[in-house]
Symmetry: C2
């Protein structure tokens, strides 16, 4: 299995972007590879194509499955597990956002709430801190709530909403 020029370019860039957003480079590359692959790949093919150890692929695939963007598919007449990724990019985006919300935003909300409470208990000593942290908490809560709203829109409406461009302003104005 050899990557074409275009695929290689994409896979490398995707890996790079991943690592800038706190996602392991190899994991992002595997994801990219599966995304452009016309058919499901098995772990050996992935390892060979990306020149990484078989065991590394195994761990990375498990991670991707944990994120919910890669799944095992059976291939007729093949004993090895084969893997694909979501073909619908919007679904993929939402799944990733959900996961990051759960893993990072929600814990931050919890910590901020605790901090604001504790700061208030300290009275005047922490008045300023309480103030600042509360502002941040409001922001995070607002964004989280908004995301929940958007998330619950039926898919076509969501896409329509994002595509509506300059009409957004009119709508609100």
């Amino acid at each position: 299995m050899l990557l074409t020029d275009v695929s290689r370019k994409f896979v490398l860039h995707w890996g790079e972007m991943g690592s800038r957003w706190g996602i392991n480079r190899t994991i992002a590359q595997i994801h990219a590879l599966l995304y452009v692959s016309p058919e499901p790949l098995n772990a050996d093919q992935i390892a060979e194509t990306l020149s990484v150890a078989r065991s590394n692929v195994s761990m990375s695939l498990r991670e991707l499955q944990g994120w919910g963007i890669v799944q095992v598919v059976p291939v007729l007449g093949e004993r090895k597990d084969h893997f694909t990724t979501q073909q619908d990019v919007w679904e993929m985006l939402l799944v990733v956002l959900d996961e990051r919300k759960k893993r990072e935003l929600d814990p931050t909300l919890t910590v901020l709430r605790e901090c604001v409470m504790e700061a208030r208990e300290q009275g005047d000593t922490e008045k300023h801190t309480a103030q600042r942290l509360n502002e941040l908490l409001q922001l995070v809560e607002t964004c989280g709530g908004w995301y929940g709203q958007v998330r619950s829109l039926p898919r076509p409406m969501l896409v329509r909403f994002l595509k509506m461009g300059s009409r957004l302003r009119k709508l609100l104005g």
Copy 2:
């Protein structure tokens, strides 16, 4: 300079979150520290409070200034540079999003456009790749365009928009 319990908790958490999003832990901690500090701090104070080398603080502050979320403020009767961060959290969020768009989304757009073009040049060989990459490109373009729209709303309208919760659905329905 010793951190209070609340501040320490917040600073540590913020550092942790930063590193999950591809931002150096120390840099995020410095940002958090400045955010809760009632008055501007100089580099030595920061270094002492967070127990990191003075030189590290220097580099990190420079990075934060590059992101546009920390600035130097002169303090009367003080020779050393003092630093603060945006007090308006919304402004802070937008500045960070702008910067990440510029650094990560825009380059990705460029690469995807190139890839789609190159794939199309290959004709049938890369038909599938062209297809997949184009879908991704559409997604990124849509999101980028949408952000541009939202970004250009006057601040109060933007906040109102994010806070509007369940009315969003009605508005679109």
